[in-house]
Every structure is written in C-alpha cells, then in structure tokens.
C-alpha cells in the first residue's frame, strides 16, 4: 500500500518535472573501490552500491557529533584513525553519559570481508550495525527520530543525502539512508599495505627473525595461530572461538546471540593487522602488550567445555622466549602505517 502510494507520488513528481523542464540532475558517481593485490574481492550488497557522494557523506557522518544525543560524540570518538580506529587505547570506551561499556572498542579496517559485526557477531551486516552505537545508552545514546529530525533541519545534509542517493529535491533524509552512507564509508577502510603485504607482492624483504616468526605462527606444534587467524589476507576465519581466556566466562560472548550452550565464551576471531596501534587486546582489553598475549597462548589459556579443540591439544610451555619474540616480530610486519595516515579516512571537518 504504502509503497504503491509512494510510487504514485514519485510518478506524479516525475511528470511535473517533465513539464517544468528542470536542469539535468547529476547522477551519483560510482565509487571505484581499489582492493590491494593479495586481498580477496569484496561483496557489496546490491541495494547499497558505493558512490563517491555516498562515501564522502558517510565519512562526514562518521566524524559528526550530530549523531549523539548531546552532540559531544561521533563514531570517531571511539574509533580514531591514529589508533587504527580504536579509541585512545582505553580498555572500555566511554559513552556520552560518562559510562563505560563492557567491551574493548574494535578496530575498523577490512570490514567489508567480515560476515558479522561486534565481538559476538550480534550485528548481521554493516548497514544494520550502524544504529547500534547511535542508540546504545552507554555510547551515543540518541533516539533515531531525533537523529532524522536533526539531519533534515541541517543546512547541508538534506542536499548531500539527495545527491548521494539520487533522490528528488523534496525527499527527506531517512535512517536507512544514514545507515547505507556510513556503511559505504566503512567499506573503504582497507588496510593492505603492511610490510607483509609488500613482501607478498615481492616488493620488500622480511628479516630472518620475522620469517621464523611466520613459520612458528603456522606450525601446528608451536604457535598454531593460523588455525584461527588464517595466514594470508584477513588474518581471521571470522568464526566464533573460545581461545581460553576464562574457565568460566564473565561475558558469555556468542552465546548471548545464539543461546547455544556450545557458544559460551566464544568471540569472533579478530584480525591481527595493526596490533601496534590497537592495544589493549581481547574483547575486554585485558592484555596491555603482545608479550602478555603470547605468554597467555603459551601457557595461560584455561580449559573449559567450549575451549577450542586446537588449544585443547596444545602443550603448555611449547614456546621458548625466543619463539615468542619471533612471533611478535612477525605480527609487527602486519602493521600498516599508511592506513593510519591516509587522508581519505581523515576527519573531513
């Protein structure tokens, strides 16, 4: 019904347009998403094709505190480019009401390859994820009708939205458009120029220590990291796994979404790119350094019914201090300083 009516309105509008012979409307320009060699092709949803205007709008919204209840916080408050898009290396991010959340902010890069969002995968897709932080009481704590109102009253946003989504001059800004625009920007946040990537492309050399670290990373008897942090491009299998942080998990992770007992204490395997900038580590930010992380994987992981089979069989103390240092050296080949300084992702204001 509603759609039918809308259609009538639209066709009416078009008819009127034709009568009045308006200036030719500028079509949004398709966005040319450049995927660095070595990373897989990205799936873009058919109902949200990327455009130059859409990406620019999404970037602006990402940096605009207009999306929070008291206009003090934007997405970039907790996701800062200089920190690989996590917050200022806090354990728990602080929302507009000064309240901390219960999870460590996640770095934002290579999101276009993820199958779900948040530590527990609760958000099913990038567009849907956007309304989470805006409405979350311990984050931006804003009502969506107010967001729509503020955007529609803004001197520039209505025009920017119409240009990005090729809408008639009378169209109002809606929440689905806001979600689509931010998702378009998020898909551009690609990190793929680390020394490891350059080495894979044959453009640089890795040191003997780094190469040894890579061997240990893959060695089933040693690091055995690549079972979950798949070596290659994304450094994650995007599965939910219990890596043994607790025998009785405080945060039940994936279980909160699926309610399957077998999912207790499981979290999404994170990428291992840009670790130099994204401390502290794990969903609750419990480890401040990679040395602590390696000590944990070497001997600190705890048994529980849902502990991943790969770790159940891992021998405690299998890594020497040199082994751990080598793995860390390898991990740092995944740091991508270009990503942190790329002007395309910087604050546009």
């Amino acid at each position: 019904m509603f759609r039918l009516c809308l259609f009538c309105l639209l066709s009416l509008f078009i008819l009127q347009c034709q009568k009045e012979d308006p200036p030719v409307k500028k079509q949004p320009t398709p966005f040319d998403l450049v995927i660095p060699k070595g990373l897989p092709a990205m799936n873009i949803p058919a109902d949200n094709p990327m455009t130059v205007e859409g990406v620019a709008l999404g970037r602006r919204l990402f940096y605009d505190p207009i999306l929070s209840a008291d206009s003090t916080q934007s997405c970039s408050s907790c996701h800062q480019q200089a920190h690989g898009f996590v917050d200022g290396n806090l354990q728990f991010s602080i929302g507009i009401d000064g309240q901390p959340g219960t999870r460590n902010a996640m770095p934002l890069f290579n999101l276009g390859w993820q199958r779900s969002f948040f530590w527990d995968g609760g958000a099913a897709n990038m567009e849907s994820q956007v309304v989470g932080p805006i409405t979350n009481p311990v984050e931006m704590h804003e009502d969506l009708p107010r967001v729509a109102l503020k955007l529609n009253r803004h001197p520039e946003y209505p025009t920017l939205f119409r240009e990005a989504f090729d809408l008639p001059d009378t169209a109002a800004v809606t929440i689905p458009m806001l979600m689509k625009a931010i998702a378009q920007f998020e898909r551009t946040l690609i990190s793929g120029n680390s020394r490891y990537d350059q080495w894979k492309r044959g453009d640089t050399q890795l040191t003997a220590q780094e190469l040894h670290g890579m061997d240990l990373f893959q060695d089933f008897e040693k690091g055995d990291c690549s079972h979950c942090h798949v070596l290659g491009s994304t450094f994650s299998d995007f599965e939910f796994r219990n890596n043994g942080l607790d025998s009785i998990p405080v945060d039940e992770g994936r279980f909160l979404i699926t309610l399957l007992p077998n999912d207790k204490g499981k979290f999404k395997t994170p990428s291992l790119r840009n670790l130099a900038y994204t401390a502290p580590y794990m969903h609750d930010g419990r480890f401040a350094t990679l040395t602590e992380v390696l000590a944990f994987y070497n001997s600190g992981f705890k048994d529980s019914p849902t502990l991943d089979a790969n770790l159940k069989h891992a021998v405690k103390g299998r890594l020497s201090p040199e082994d751990m240092a080598d793995i860390i050296a390898f991990l740092h080949t995944l740091d991508d300083p270009d990503f942190l300084s790329s002007p395309a992702f910087a604050n546009p204001f």
């Binding site: 019904m1 509603f2 759609r3 809308l6 109902d47 949200n48 948040f118 609760g122 958000a123 099913a124 897709n125 567009e127 849907s128 994820q129 309304v131 989470g132 409405t135 979350n136 969506l144 009708p145 729509a148 809606t174 929440i175 689905p176 979600m179 689509k180 998702a183 909160l256 979404i257 309610l259």
Partner: protein, 252 residues
C-alpha cells in the same frame, strides 16, 4: 480452530475483515470493476476489554495486574485464498501501533474479485527481511522496532507497568522477536464473497485469543535476558469462536 505457532502471552487480537463495496453489476463478464476494496481492522483486547494506552489496568490469567503505555506489532504477508486455492497477496509488512489509530486499519483498494474462504498472515517479520535494518517504510528503524545488539526486528513491543512481587508498580518492557518467534496465523473465512455475481457482502470477525503463560511479568527487561526469556515463553493460542454475519448490501 487451532493456530500453529509458538508465540506469546496475554492479548486478544481480533481481526475483522470488513468489506466495503464498490458498484455491483449482475453481469460477471465485463461490466463493473474487476477489483473491490477491502479493509482489516485490528482491535487489541485483553480478555474482553479493549486495550487502552495509559489508562486502567488489566489482569492476566495468573492474577498479575499490568498496563499498557505502548503496544506495537507487525502483521506481515497477508494472503487471501479463494475457494479454488488461488492466493492473493495483500501486504508486505505493516506496523500496527495502538497509539496511531490509522495504523490499526489496513485498507486495500483493489482486491481481485473472488470467493475467499481463508486467509493467512504472520505476526512478526519473515526471516528474509529480519536481518537487514536498512529498510524503508514500516521497517525503517525510526519506528523503534529493532534490536541493534542482535540484528533483527522486534515483532511485538508492549511497554507499560506491572505489579511486582512486592505489590509495587514496576516498569514492564516486553520485546518479542527473533526468527523462531515468527507466528503463522491461518484463518478460515466463512463467507467473504467479493464477487459481483454473488451479491453478498459479508464481514468476518474472528477473534484470536493468545493465552498468557506463567513467567511473563516476573521479569525486568535487560537487553540480553530479554531474548532468552522470549525463547522460554510458550504459546497457547486459539481462535475463540468464528462469527460471520451479513452486512447490508449497498446500493449498486
């Protein structure tokens, strides 16, 4: 008639199919429009009492008192079925909001003529549409009918107050949803004849009684426990009595 489903407590939903008619001609071949208007009115009841927002209180089968400040739900994929099995799809997803009187009536202007003997619809959002929140119209998140921490639409939202174990009024937030909660409702339509031959214009009023089960009001809403709770609530629902009566034929 029993409705196959797994759903929730306390409310009686009465669907009435009201037929209002256009011109009626005797010749069924060419004359007269091939379509007729039809509207559904959703009336919310607790037992026999109509739901009113912000006033009064109701008592469920367990003797718990509660009230309504908000009652919103989705009715999706309404399909009419003719006596020879043809199906006519009417809507996609419609948000019924007790605070918005207009939304309680779904008006369809051009139903193909035919003798309709049953209908089916869903309470909730089908899984094809339940996992993307960037949808327009009644599915726009601006309507507040979604979860962000676990992507999906809230199928039914009842907010108000309830009298807790200490006999104090406490906040009630009941948010019902997830794929497993989608409730298919199938109803026989004893006598809906949209046919310019038949000359019968009838209205069917079917009340669906959704009987509340235990735990409903014992729980305060927390985002994560709410969903767990939803899985625990079980449906006992039944239509209570089908009534059909003729309404006056309008002059043709």
């Amino acid at each position: 008639m029993r409705i196959k489903s797994r759903i929730f407590p306390i409310l009686s939903v009465i669907t009435s199919a009201l037929l209002s008619t256009a011109a009626c001609k005797k010749d069924n071949t060419v004359q007269g429009p091939a379509v007729a208007p039809l509207s559904f009115v959703f009336q919310n009841r607790v037992n026999q009492e109509p739901v009113e927002l912000g006033v009064g209180s109701y008592t469920n089968a367990n003797g718990n008192a509660f009230s309504f400040d908000m009652l919103k739900y989705y009715i999706s994929n309404i399909v009419l079925v003719t006596d020879d099995g043809k199906e006519v799809a009417l809507n996609n997803h419609s948000l019924i909001d007790a605070a918005n009187l207009g939304s309680e009536q779904l008006q369809f202007d051009s139903i193909p003529k035919g003798h309709y003997t049953s209908m089916h619809f869903q309470l909730g959002i089908d899984s094809l549409h339940n996992h993307n929140l960037d949808q327009a119209g009644d599915l726009d998140p601006v309507n507040g009918m979604f979860w962000s921490w676990n992507t999906g639409y809230i199928f039914l939202k009842h907010e108000g107050t309830y009298r807790n174990a200490n006999n104090e009024w406490d906040q009630l937030l009941f948010h019902y949803g997830t794929d497993g909660a989608l409730t298919a409702v199938e109803l026989a339509l004893p006598d809906v004849n949209l046919d310019d031959n038949g000359k019968r214009y009838t209205s069917t009023s079917i009340s669906i009684k959704l009987v509340q089960q235990s735990e409903y009001y014992g729980l305060r809403h927390r985002p994560h426990s709410a969903k767990r709770f939803l899985y625990r609530s079980r449906l006992a629902c039944q239509t209570n009595g089908k009534r059909s009566r003729r309404i006056q034929r309008r002059p043709g």
